[in-house]
Symmetry: C2
Subunit: 462 residues, 2 copies
Amino acid sequence: MAVQQTTSSLDLHVDVDRTRVRASLEDALREAVQSGRLAPGARLPSSRALAADLRVARSTVVDVYEQLSAEGWLVSRHGSATTVADPVGRPSVPSGASAPTAVVPTYDLRAGTPDVTTFPRAEWTAALRTVLAAAPADALGYGDPRGRIELRQALASYLARARGVRLAPDDVVVCSGYRQSLWLLSRVLRAEGASSVAVEAFGHHAHRDVIVDAGLRTVALEVDDDGARPEHLDGHDAVVLTAAHQFPLGVVLSPVRRGEIVRWAAADRRVIVEDDYDGEFRYDRRGVGAMQALAPELVAYAGTASKTLAPGLRLAWLVLPPRLVEPVVELRRALLGQAPVLDQLVLAELLTSGRYDRHVRRTRLAYRGRRDRFVAEMAARSPGTPVLGLPAGLHSVVQLCEGDTEDAAVERASSRGLAVEGLGTYTLRPGLRPPSLVVGWATPPSHSFTAALRRLTLALAG
Amino acid sequence: MAVQQTTSSLDLHVDVDRTRVRASLEDALREAVQSGRLAPGARLPSSRALAADLRVARSTVVDVYEQLSAEGWLVSRHGSATTVADPVGRPSVPSGASAPTAVVPTYDLRAGTPDVTTFPRAEWTAALRTVLAAAPADALGYGDPRGRIELRQALASYLARARGVRLAPDDVVVCSGYRQSLWLLSRVLRAEGASSVAVEAFGHHAHRDVIVDAGLRTVALEVDDDGARPEHLDGHDAVVLTAAHQFPLGVVLSPVRRGEIVRWAAADRRVIVEDDYDGEFRYDRRGVGAMQALAPELVAYAGTASKTLAPGLRLAWLVLPPRLVEPVVELRRALLGQAPVLDQLVLAELLTSGRYDRHVRRTRLAYRGRRDRFVAEMAARSPGTPVLGLPAGLHSVVQLCEGDTEDAAVERASSRGLAVEGLGTYTLRPGLRPPSLVVGWATPPSHSFTAALRRLTLALAG
């Protein structure tokens, strides 16, 4: 649909394809700037006016303006009109580009999301067909709030083998995502009389918020190269640790620290919550076994399929000390019932058939390749930049140059079309580490991964 | 494996098939009683001794003793030995029975679970293949805490058409089960300053517990033939209603009452929670439209796929008044994230392709057939028994004879191999209704449905 602008100062003919409104509007505006039809400094119509004229959602126009601003074609200032950028601030059009409307892609280097393009769609569907052919009808009923026995058995076998967890199927409670696991556990600890939970000084604010929602206080422990520092644990009732791979710093909790923390917990029935969010992804040496194996009666182990398969599944599990099983199950029974059953049955089938292991190995190799490309690119273009957290996981922490700030670096990256976050986003107690970026490697498409890294090193250079 | 009893007074040779321990033990004992090898009044070994001899779990023996006692072959008394029943108390062996060890099945007439054997397994798998072939990769990411747009759009269209709900996709929040919907809503109401929620005097204790967990007080409203009575609503901040089909009484909230309750809510921004758990299943007349349509800005409408598809999916949805959308979404974001994504995409596909409607029509016909058989059986064998809640849903309430009690009737049903519950199980405020049974029709297999009803009428007769 071609629409002639009428209600704004801008004489602009925009072709909006109703089957792809946002993309066609973005292409049309970018082309208008590139071709010079929109001159530097020209005011664009307000998002409200343009949306009304095109009969599209205002949010679509806002999105497109933001995207083109992030790419450097437009300039948006809070409270004033969006204008066409000066040529100096614009991205250069690749000279070999055949079409003047070539899309300038944006790369997402934020941590936390795996490469969901690797999700084994065909295998998942095949496994669903298999389990639905075999499952008894009552598997589709309300069921056991701890989750399907097939999955708890499969997890018991897998976690013992792959992560060294010591468990029986009855220790497992299937949950919908780690956040729900942590919330249920926090509620149970609170009901048991706990009041204060120690967390790592670096991590997700959302996780701390979940603990607080359950009525508990949190305090943040310093983290150094050996992981969380245990000397201030006294006075707290539990501690939450990313022991195998600190998020986001990437360090491993040392054996000495593990022993100290287990002794602290054993002294007064305190609880250690082990958040093993990406224990499968370790590249340079053998996987670091779960801390749970040191003290199954003290450690609540929390795992997830969010990194190995896809976050959208919301599949997670708790392996609980015996005394905590019933209270967690009762809370699930009261408020939630079991986790959705079909995904549970499919994951059980993938685990028992060995296809889960094969998928994890495939993706581990792919992530290792990305890690290697990241290391090579940093060494070639940002030599000497300190990088933390390289032998594992899906992200690293890159320290900024002396005098640089996270806000400035994030802004420079953004102006090059990169989404990336400062360490401050994951800091629960400021002032412990120099300014850094948390760089996720998992999501840019493989074919453009090097281009994304190139932009990152340019942004780091200032 | 054949085992000779040695540690007990009973000389009994039991063949236990290790691949089906429980069933073979049950068959062998039943056969021993039927054939007279075990005489009336004979003591059986204790469950502990028999379990030790047979090297099976004691719980297996306890189960088998309970089953055979429920069937009338054995007599178990708390604290004394299990004995063989007198022939008078025993079920008669059908004269035409070819095998003396014919299994006597147990039927579940409890309300609340639909006939999960009708779950459209092949269609579900086919729809998953379709959506996984088309879904963009980022559909598998953490996503929007309100749920997939595909499902919210499909629900908006379906609920408007099938249930008369007035809504836009952005009013919808996808949840994991009604209990979670109610809990999220209760938390948001509490945060808004609400302190007291009215509920119906008949319903699920678990639902009241969810409201209480969120920090709210509940009071129970009387229910009569026109539904919940509104005259004591003043002083409360919200009310939860099963307006289309009161659970479990089966009455419909009258138009006059609906108007009164909407006016009450409008007077002071109070909230009506409409629990539309089985609105699709109405047999004698057109469906009763959702109360939400009267006042979309006051009614939080809650729906679920638990009755139409399967409870194990834990798929449910809230249609919220505009001002409640953001707080509910934020609470989901903080504690849960979105509901699992694949089931959402599949349900969206089933809704938009019309297969959901066809499935609902198929199952509605089947349930209507069961309802008719139930009515015919009651008319033939328990004439004059008052029965409530017949034109809709998957259960009815059957009033007991003068002088009978729910406990006694449940016990008589149990001794005939029937699981059924008294109205007391669903009573939040006692003394309002005469003793009754809540009879679910959905789960006994179709081929044995008449046999189950026959036993029920026998149990009702005393």
